[in-house]
């Protein structure tokens, strides 16, 4: 299975943070290719810069390492168009772009977002969070 990992899943996996056993099994046993949108890096860097990730090292020290063996999935014009056109009330632009990337490139978006769970139009697998 080729998956687009959302920001929280990428972060939790890299830092060994708690996740549902079902999510861990999926990541370690079912995933053949890991893909990540660079906007996930922006989300984490943004939170860190504003002090919302206390205890997390400077992203300059770990992001490059964490991205090894991920396929980068930057948004294309078509993806951005679709991200704007989703007929959803959900206004998180990063979520809308991740969903559009998954749809355009036939990747399963693996996430823990209960809002995304209720939306359709893209391949996804939802796992509840543990914390």
């Amino acid at each position: 299975m080729k998956v687009l990992v959302d920001t929280g899943v990428w972060f939790r996996r890299y830092f060994g943070l708690p996740m549902k056993p079902s999510l861990r099994r999926c990541l370690e046993g079912e995933v053949a290719e890991f893909h990540l949108c660079p906007l996930s890096v922006a989300e984490i860097a943004f939170r860190w810069r504003r002090g919302r990730l206390p205890g997390v090292p400077d992203p300059a020290l770990w992001v490059e390492h964490s991205l090894e063996n991920y396929v980068a999935e930057p948004p294309s014009v078509a993806v951005c168009r679709q991200a704007g056109l989703w007929d959803w009330p959900h206004g998180d632009l990063v979520d809308r772009i991740l969903a559009a990337i998954a749809a355009e490139r036939d990747l399963v978006l693996v996430h823990t977002d209960s809002v995304l769970k209720g939306l359709s139009g893209f391949p996804q697998r939802y796992f509840p969070n543990v914390l």
Partner: protein, 82 residues
């Protein structure tokens, strides 16, 4: 072929069979059905090319009060589509 001669596998009431060696417990197979033939292809474990993890994991308390699923950036205006 000499090491692993042809064997006959008989399915039980639940259509289960026991595979001979070199099959091992936990092996995963792709089963391809073509007419009367069932071809089992052993799947290689997915180990190569996996993303790394941090040498020093973070304490779970890092997540206290943090919702990584919430928008990092201010969400777009929530006005209706008109």
């Amino acid at each position: 072929m000499w090491d692993y001669p042809t064997v006959i596998l008989i399915a039980d009431k639940k259509r289960r069979v026991v595979l001979p060696r070199p099959a091992e417990p936990g092996d995963a197979y792709e089963c391809v059905a073509t007419g009367d033939r069932l071809i089992l292809l052993r799947l290689q474990p997915v180990t190569a090319g996996r993303p790394p993890v941090a040498e020093i994991p973070l304490k779970p308390t890092v997540l206290k009060g943090l919702d990584l699923d919430a928008p990092a950036f201010t969400p777009l205006a929530d006005e209706g589509l008109g």
